[in-house]
């Protein structure tokens, strides 16, 4: 590592670096002597390795711009999205859409040759008439059923129009399936509930991916030459019930006409943190075909189904 000077290393800005997944990505790139990681997050970076640079700033601030203006940046990994169900939609909009818009603008202005945006396979939306495996050209219909997803869909659209507009920049959009691990996202939180509600009579096939596999996929996306939109799938497909059985948690099947009102009431009382509309993810299929990622990025999930499922109970760093 010492042999290569800082000048030859690719300088990668990682937004949202202080989150669980952000730290995994930072560590993954940090281990690789060809990268120099520059974190960008308004939260402090806990247990930061010394040679990872961290700027504790708001993405929309002038100081975030300075990160791009005052130094050479070779790549941006954008994964710093706000997804706090309790925050207002105005706050979400301003942070997610405003922030992404600024970042892409800096990349165009300061000639950042590589942009990797972490979107999600959820943008396709769980639907009864979904084909079993959606390819990258399927329409992004998630926002039709639930407005909470609008931001995510819009970010994906912004990134793909950036991909077409800024042709000299290699833009990579990654759409991973449900990410499981110590990460605090909706599917992992759901699987960590002490009693897990399910919908009576529904048991869709789900795809899951280990958080470390996502970090690896981001590293694949950073490789020179890689560009385009890529679905990321994990080791395979299983019914939701198998995931729950594997975790050994008690479940409560709720008839779906009752589930929504009950859940909405619990949400109002602050008893849970899942918006009602996310129920569709445990009702309908929303799975992707990830052959393009394996063919063009050379990405394959390394963790088995069982390891991926049990990763939600894993608390080690």
């Amino acid at each position: 590592m010492a042999s290569s000077g800082d000048g030859e290393r690719r300088r990668v800005v990682v937004t949202g670096v202080a989150g669980r997944l952000g730290r995994l990505v930072a560590r993954r790139l940090h281990r690789d002597p060809s990268y120099h990681v520059i974190g960008l997050d308004r939260r402090p970076f806990i247990d930061r390795p010394k040679d990872i640079e961290h700027h504790q700033v708001d993405l929309r601030s002038k100081r975030a711009r300075d990160v791009f203006r005052t130094q050479r940046v070779d790549a941006l990994v954008h994964m710093g999205f706000l997804h706090t169900p309790r925050a207002t939609s105005a706050e979400h909009y301003s942070w997610n859409i405003g922030g992404t818009d600024r970042l892409l603008e800096y990349c165009a202005q300061y000639r950042v040759p590589k942009v990797v945006v972490l979107s999600s396979a959820n943008v396709y939306g769980p639907r009864a008439d979904n084909t079993q495996f959606l390819t990258e050209d399927a329409p992004l219909l998630a926002a039709q059923a639930f407005p909470e997803m609008r931001d995510l869909v819009e970010i994906d659209h912004m990134a793909s129009s950036f991909f077409w507009k800024a042709r000299e920049i290699e833009t990579v959009i990654l759409r991973p399936v449900h990410i499981l691990g110590a990460v605090k996202n909706a599917p992992s939180n759901y699987l960590r509930l002490s009693v897990i509600p399910t919908l009576l009579g529904f048991d869709p096939m789900v795809q899951i991916i280990h958080e470390r596999d996502v970090a690896e996929a981001i590293a694949c996306g950073l490789k020179p030459g890689a560009r385009g939109i890529f679905n990321l799938a994990g080791p395979g497909e299983v019914p939701l019930s198998v995931v729950l059985r594997e975790l050994g948690r008690p479940t409560v099947p709720v008839p779906h006409p009752l589930a929504k009102p009950l859940w909405r009431a619990a949400w109002r009382l602050g008893l849970n943190s899942f918006p009602v509309d996310e129920f569709d993810f445990i009702r309908y299929v929303c799975m992707v075909d990830a052959t393009r990622a394996s063919r063009e990025l050379g990405f394959r999930a390394r963790h088995s189904l069982r390891e991926t499922i049990h990763a939600v109970l894993d608390s080690r760093e």
Partner: protein
């Protein structure tokens, strides 16, 4: 270990003994892709299929006493589209064809059929059908399974066929063209199938005003309790499998070019139906 687990293990043991060694041998002879939990990418699992096989086998052998002709025309391996007439208000014709391929074909094959788009919204049916190998009817799903060399059953008459009234028995309804485009695109042979019997299993009339009121494609009524076609009559099923037909051409051709090819399949099925009707002694025996 709760009461539920105890019950499940008792049922499992009962089902296994009733199914016997023949089922064991046949299910082992199937080529099924499975992951570490025993599921294929579409949710099919041999483990959950045995319960439905027990019931279906009884329907197939004892209730409908199915008679199968020409099953050797179904290729033993590789992609194939089985195209059949559709009737009888409830899709027992699909079940009987599936059983014929599992119990009477050599080697046995799993046949997968395409279900309507509303099916995934129905509790229990949604996932049970997928565990038993049925798939949501989208062209992409069909294409994917054919490229994985699976056998797919299609009813190009769709809802028009299954919900037609008794007065139109053995009259084929209009065929959709989608199956032909898929066959051309994926270079898949078509095996025409004629089902005799299903057309008489539920002699129904269609109450159109009620159907319109409920917004469903039809509202069939049968002249015996419970008046809705839930239980089929014990008609005798006769299945005729025709020789595979290979079509060549461009899948994106206009309907005018596709139509004669579809007609060819329709005529083949129609003539097998006529042959079968001429040869039978009665509806129930």
């Amino acid at each position: 270990m709760g009461a539920g687990d105890w019950l499940r293990s008792r049922i499992d043991r009962y089902v296994d003994t009733r199914l016997g060694p023949d089922y064991e041998a046949r299910s082992r002879a199937l080529t099924v892709r499975q992951n570490e939990f025993g599921f294929d990418p579409f949710g099919f699992s041999l483990g959950s299929v045995k319960y439905v096989v027990l019931v279906s086998r009884w329907l197939y052998r004892s209730y409908f006493r199915a008679e199968v002709h020409g099953i050797e025309h179904v290729p033993p391996a590789g992609r194939v589209l089985l195209v059949s007439n559709h009737s009888g208000q409830l899709p027992f014709d699909g079940l009987v064809i599936g059983m014929a391929l599992f119990l009477d074909a050599d080697p046995p094959r799993v046949v997968r059929s395409m279900v309507e788009h509303f099916v995934p919204t129905v509790p229990f049916v949604s996932y049970l059908l997928s565990r038993w190998g049925q798939i949501t009817g989208t062209p992409e799903n069909c294409r994917r399974l054919l490229s994985d060399e699976e056998a797919i059953l299609v009813f190009p008459e769709g809802a028009r066929g299954i919900s037609k009234p008794f007065s139109q028995r053995y009259q084929l309804q209009d065929f959709g063209y989608g199956f032909m485009r898929l066959a051309l695109e994926t270079k898949t042979p078509i095996v025409p199938v004629a089902v005799i019997g299903a057309e008489e299993q539920a002699p129904a009339v269609n109450i159109k005003p009620l159907a319109r009121l409920l917004g469903s494609p039809s509202f069939p009524v049968v002249p015996y309790p419970p008046f809705v076609p839930l239980v089929p009559l014990p008609v005798k099923y006769r299945l005729y499998f025709g020789e595979p037909i290979f079509f060549e051409g461009d899948a994106d051709d206009d309907d005018e070019q596709i139509e004669p090819k579809v007609k060819q399949v329709v005529h083949r099925i129609q003539s097998m139906i006529h042959m079968g009707l001429r040869g039978r002694r009665g509806i129930f025996w």
